[in-house]
């Protein structure tokens, strides 16, 4: 998000889900869309049926490849080289938008020089993708009327994740493929209200609405609205908090509905950090792996037990409605926070949920026009500044919030941990269709667990044969940080030397293995590439 915000001044999907079916070219990179965003994938399939050409760039032969005009199997972590190679072709063949570049962007010349060396041949050497496919990708994207790029964590969860995003932004800027319907750059958000939590200021450097905590005028606005003095220094990110806890600088942590023990890299490190705290409060609906470490556990309500709004990946606020009562003494998260605040001397009281949204609207104009009544069946997409504004399906129609968008020269940097003799395989992690995130919800659903009961490591038949491993064998997968045992799943999806593990399973948590090395700009850990060793369980 930080990457896109740097370039455009706003970091969210530029287009909306219904627009996808009218794309005539789609570049899907680092997104196993059919499993992680199945309904977005339906629109992609619809676009395919309407004649769109889909380029899938993924080290794995994901299901979307069936619908693709072109599949680029690049080596994990080589996205920058691949994208730069494509852009090199676009530039060489003049498939760029001169007017757009001169009117709405800056920094083109420096960028142009930066991709000089990324000939298709050079890109092929780094990525393993044949140069003819790189050229073909450039032709499909460059000649399309309404192309859009879609990506998820396959792009961002790298030590150079922000660089990856910059490269995608460069691609869209040089071709002028922004600010139009069905044309743009679309990071797909992985959790139902992750967009909302960011929008709402649950980030250490920004208040709600991406307003910086270190800008005095903004801070004053919030101080006067809330009636207190507010801190002016950006805080710590989640992974920095874990480090600070480890170091003893952070003494207490209040976790509302998260399970970092499973979701964060290097589980052993996270667990130790949390155990090091003086005081840990976890507010959740289940006794998660994280809650087990808490001093106090508060029973909260799930989505079906509360009123409010969620904001989906396309900036769309939609109504959440109470269907059932929470079990036992469990309370709504908002009620808990209000009471806690009041007990701590800050009178936080709202008569009804919408009152909170009204307060948000007063502080962040982009949602000022949104009321519960207006949300209806299909919600409203911010920006929606006034009560008669229809919402904004796609961004940057007239220009960018920061004026001109900037090109950012991006150099290829290898992933931090590459395979070697000791750890010869590349591990990449992600989700699968039938489980969700840390499994705290889906693993309580019997039907889902009937079809996806156990953790597995996906490995291709050639690698399996070289390790003398059969489908279903128990394997021990180890990295420099730990090891887990799980079943082998022989599949044609991974490339040679690459294995995949879904991270949903606590008993074989992929994040025991992953590398906590982080992107220096936005602190996202490198969950998509680390080096592992694979042995048959019990073989030593």
């Amino acid at each position: 998000m930080a990457g896109l915000a740097t370039v455009f001044g706003s970091g969210a999907m530029t287009n909306s889900i219904p627009e996808i079916e009218n794309n005539d070219a789609l570049l899907v990179i680092g997104s196993n869309t059919t499993e992680t965003h199945p309904i977005v994938a339906l629109r992609m399939k619809k676009a395919f049926r309407k004649g769109a050409q889909i380029i899938v760039a993924d080290p794995r032969k994901i299901d979307l490849v069936r619908f693709s005009a072109l599949w680029l199997r690049h080596k994990p972590g080589t996205d920058v080289a691949l994208l730069n190679g494509v852009m090199h072709v676009l530039l060489k063949e003049k498939l760029i938008d001169r007017d757009f570049i001169s009117e709405r962007t800056e920094g083109f010349e420096a960028f142009r020089k930066s991709i000089d060396s990324f000939t298709p041949e050079a890109a092929q050497r780094i990525t393993g993708v044949p140069k003819k496919d790189i050229i073909k990708a450039a032709h499909i994207y460059g000649k399309a009327e309404r192309p859009a790029v879609f990506y998820t964590m396959g792009i961002t969860q790298h030590t150079h994740g922000t660089q990856n995003v910059f490269a995608i932004a460069n691609l869209a800027l040089m071709t002028g493929n922004l600010g139009r319907e069905s044309t743009g750059v679309n990071p797909l958000r992985g959790q139902n209200n992750v967009q909302g939590s960011t929008d709402m200021g649950c980030i250490p450097n920004q208040f709600p609405g991406y307003q910086r905590v270190d800008m005095p005028s903004i801070r004053e606005k919030f101080e006067s609205a809330w009636g207190v003095r507010l801190p002016d220094r950006p805080g710590l990110t989640a992974t920095e908090m874990a480090d600070a806890a480890h170091e003893g600088d952070l003494k207490a942590l209040y976790i509302m509905g998260e399970n970092p023990v499973i979701s964060d890299p290097d589980t052993n490190h996270t667990r130790k950090a949390l155990q090091h705290l003086d005081f840990l409060v976890v507010q959740d609906i289940f006794m998660t792996e994280t809650a087990e470490l808490a001093d106090v556990v508060l029973p909260a309500s799930c989505f079906a037990e509360k009123e409010g709004t969620f904001t989906n990946t396309e900036r769309r606020l939609q109504r959440v409605r109470r269907a059932v009562a929470a079990p036992g003494q469990a309370r709504e998260d908002s009620e808990i926070i209000m009471e806690l605040s009041t007990r701590m001397g800050f009178d936080m009281k709202y008569r009804f949920m919408e009152e909170i949204l009204r307060e948000i609207g007063r502080l962040w104009p982009a949602v000022a026009g949104i009321t519960y009544e207006r949300l209806g069946m299909r919600g409203l997409q911010w920006p929606c500044p006034t009560h008669d504004h229809p919402g904004t399906p796609y961004l940057f129609k007239g220009g960018f919030p920061r004026g001109k968008a900037s090109f950012t020269p991006v150099e290829y940097e290898p992933s931090r941990e590459l395979p070697d003799n000791e750890y010869p395989f590349v591990l990449t992690t992600g989700r699968q269709l039938f489980q969700y995130h840390t499994g705290s919800m889906t693993r309580k659903v019997a039907e889902l667990n009937a079809v996806a009961p156990t953790a597995y490591v996906e490995i291709n038949a050639r690698d399996a044969a070289s390790l003398r491993v059969a489908d279903g064998d128990m394997l021990t997968v180890s990295s420099r940080r730990g090891s887990i045992s799980l079943q082998a799943l022989i599949s044609e999806r991974p490339a040679d030397g690459v294995v995949f593990i879904p991270f949903h399973y606590r008993e074989a948590a992929a994040n025991v293995l992953t590398n906590p090395a982080r992107d220096p700009i936005c602190n996202i850990p490198e969950l998509k590439v680390c080096a592992v060793r694979i042995e048959k369980a019990g073989a030593g």
Binding site: V228, Y254, D264, L298, E447
Partner: protein, 346 residues
Amino acid sequence: MIHLTINGLPVSVPEGTTILDAARSADIPIPTLCHHPKLTPYGGCRLCIVEVKGINRPVTSCTTPVAADMEVATTTPAIEGMRKTILELILSDHPNDCMVCEKAGDCALQELAYFYGVRENRFDGERRCYAGKDRNPFIDRDMEKCILCGKCVRVCEEVQGVGAIDIAYRGFNAKICPPFEKDLSCEFCGQCVSVCPTGALTGKAWTQRGRQKDIKEVDTICPYCGCGCGITLHVRRNEIVRVSSREETINEGWLCPKGRFGYTFVNSPERLHVPLIKEKGVFREAGWDEAMSLIVSKLGKIKKKYGPDAIGGLASARCTNEENYLFQKFMRAVIGTNNIDHCARL
């Protein structure tokens, strides 16, 4: 625009519109069992037949485009008679077990049988009889109730792009099944369940959990990934017994296996239902007052001793906007720190 009349009523619709859509736009009902607005017209159930002046046989309104000056009649005695014959034929090969059917009250076939008053049936004879059950965990496939409308086949192919099922065999023995009649093994999105007009496809988890008349429907948003699908929770006695989705949602009524079938965690006995306080490494139940007091005093002491930045908060991508707003406000305004984050990065 094409101008035509339906039952004498002038109707204007864009070229290419089917007679069925034209009629529906004018609020003239035409019965159908195999039509779905998002799927390729099929023309299998034959119930949507209408008379068009100048054409000597009935035409199916779902497949016939309008033409200028067309005169359409939707409910002549002859047409209604043929529709009744078709319903009798369908019902002559359909189990009469509405009494125990999950779909009763929400069944398109039952509805039509009611409106056409099909009590006596001129036709009897052999009925399809299938031994063996599909053992997949999600979808009950009772093929004796299948009317071969083909919606499931089309939605699986045209919307989901999976093609897990198709029609096998011929004539009276025609049957919709997975390849070689094996157990269904697919993405289990349940799109087929959502379009099935009868009780042939239902959720296994729905069984004996309550029928439509007892159910309260609550429209809300799916708790899983970032697509933000609109879902409808079917609630009976404070329990979610089924999930569906409306066509007018941004997801067009389509869902994934988690969204459609992954709701039972809400009623899980493992839910936390009382505050817990850990003492000597073991949790014990506590009252809210005690838990709150402990948190207030602990946080207060730490803030006093080490400053507000010794405290951090992690908000949740699964909580609402309002809750997240309150949580960051709590961290910033009450605790006094910007140590607030969530797991957007993971």
